[in-house]
Amino acid sequence: MIGDTSKEISLAALDPAKENERLVASIAAGDRDAEQAFALRFMRPVRAMLLARLRNPDIAADLLQDVMVESISALRKGQVREPAKLPGFVASVARNVLNSHFRGAARQPESLELPEDLQALKLEADPMEEEQRESRAIEAISSLESVDRSILQMTLVDGLKPAAIATRLGLNPDVVRQRKLRATRKIIDLVNRLSQTGSVVHLTTGRRT
């Protein structure tokens, strides 16, 4: 069993590889709590990866469930060769699911009976957490000058290069580069600061403190 939450946090902080090994062993032994801990731990990085590759939140949400189901299915069967490298294993499952999606294959996740009490495997994001993330993003964007907002919008949404942005905004390309990097740094710092002052979600357990 997963056991005491605070103990889990300290264990993972001390030795992530051992925590991975224990998680893999627990799931193979049929521990449903371990499956829940696994899902909560990897839901965020898998979502981030799918979003980065797909740039479509709806498809990313669909594939997220496939990745988690396939990962847990493999873990239950004891198919993870190097338990200490569990993050790499999950990332490779996510890449396989993505590749199948891009090939257009009608991929069907292996039949897996999802435990009813495994709320995390429904992979519905915590509405409160989503709301907080959205608020932080809005606050970060509003902290930028309008020209920096435009530069980031053209970079992150339109995929334009500094030279093209500079032409559109009537700025020197070097200035665009500087502003872009500084705005990015500002956003990361602000969002992370806000997330630390608000409620914190530990990646190791996914449990709110």
Binding site: P87, A91, E134, R136, I141, L152, D174, I187, V191, N192
Partner: protein
């Protein structure tokens, strides 16, 4: 949250989210942030902003005069003024060394300012090809940003084409300062302008090897120019190829120079 020793730079993150990283680097970074909460938090922060920005309406942009047009107009005016001045003095100058000092129009190196490559020796051609003009610099006017005073005074000297003063002041920018990379770069090009190629090479190489920065591509470009000026053609080719691979503002200039070098080879 900040215990990661390999936190990616801003440009790296933007490249990742834009799908512009090579696949091998993408995979390596993803496997890293699957186990690194600090890096995952950085990715998520930018993704949240990316999603919000996608939903936001575009602002009305002012219609600017594009930079190439501005350079062309300024260049044309400068050329006319010079022509009138020369005509007034009624004197012909002899052939000047083709290594340009400051004031050339850096956006068009492949046209009028490009020296001929029809000379008998490819080595002479390579040296003539070197673009040693100081790149333009515009002092950022970012609200809330504080530049290091030595950087500011150094760049004021730079803008006024006072390279000795710029070299002196930029050398004082301390390690760890946010302007250090830019200081190294502009000090490097000033040293290049002063023909201290060894000193320039050291500074520019440190900028090029430091990774993502607004000056990385330009540093590689000027390293190639130093190599050209010293007739080190293999190094010049290598650095020009790196510049082209970045696909930035110096790409066309680098391509033009590679073509010139190839023509020189063919004519040998």
């Amino acid at each position: 949250m900040t215990d990661c020793k390999e936190l990616p730079g801003e440009q790296f993150l933007l490249d990742y989210l834009s799908g512009e990283l090579p696949e091998s680097e993408t995979v390596r970074f993803e496997e890293h942030y699957f186990a690194c909460s600090s890096c995952l938090a950085r990715v998520e922060a930018l993704q949240d902003v990316q999603l919000k920005l996608r939903a936001q309406p575009r602002q009305l942009y002012r219609a600017p005069i594009p930079w190439p047009v501005r350079f062309a107009v300024i260049g044309a005016i400068a050329a006319m003024v010079l022509a009138v001045a020369f005509a007034f003095h009624g004197r012909h100058q002899g052939q000047q060394p083709s290594i340009a000092a400051g004031g050339s129009t850096p956006e068009k190196p492949g046209s009028a300012s490009m020296p001929s490559v029809q000379s008998p020796s490819i080595k002479t051609s390579a040296a003539q090809l070197a673009d040693l003009a100081l790149p333009p610099f515009q002092m950022p006017q970012l609200r809330g940003e504080r530049s290091n005073p030595d950087f500011k005074s150094g760049m004021t000297g730079y803008i006024n084409r006072n390279c000795p003063a710029a070299i002196r002041d930029l050398a004082r920018v301390p390690a760890g300062d946010q302007d250090l990379t830019a200081a190294r770069f502009y000090r490097g090009v000033c040293l290049m302008q002063e023909k201290d190629f060894a000193g320039a090479f050291t500074r520019l190489r440190s900028v090029a090897e430091a990774g993502d920065s607004p000056q990385q591509e330009a540093a590689l470009y000027y390293l190639a120019q130093i190599a050209l000026a010293e007739n080190d053609i293999p190094t010049a080719r290598h650095n020009l190829s790196l510049v082209i691979s970045i696909r930035g503002d110096f790409e066309n200039r680098a391509r033009a120079q590679l073509v010139h070098l190839s023509q020189g080879d063919a004519g040998k």
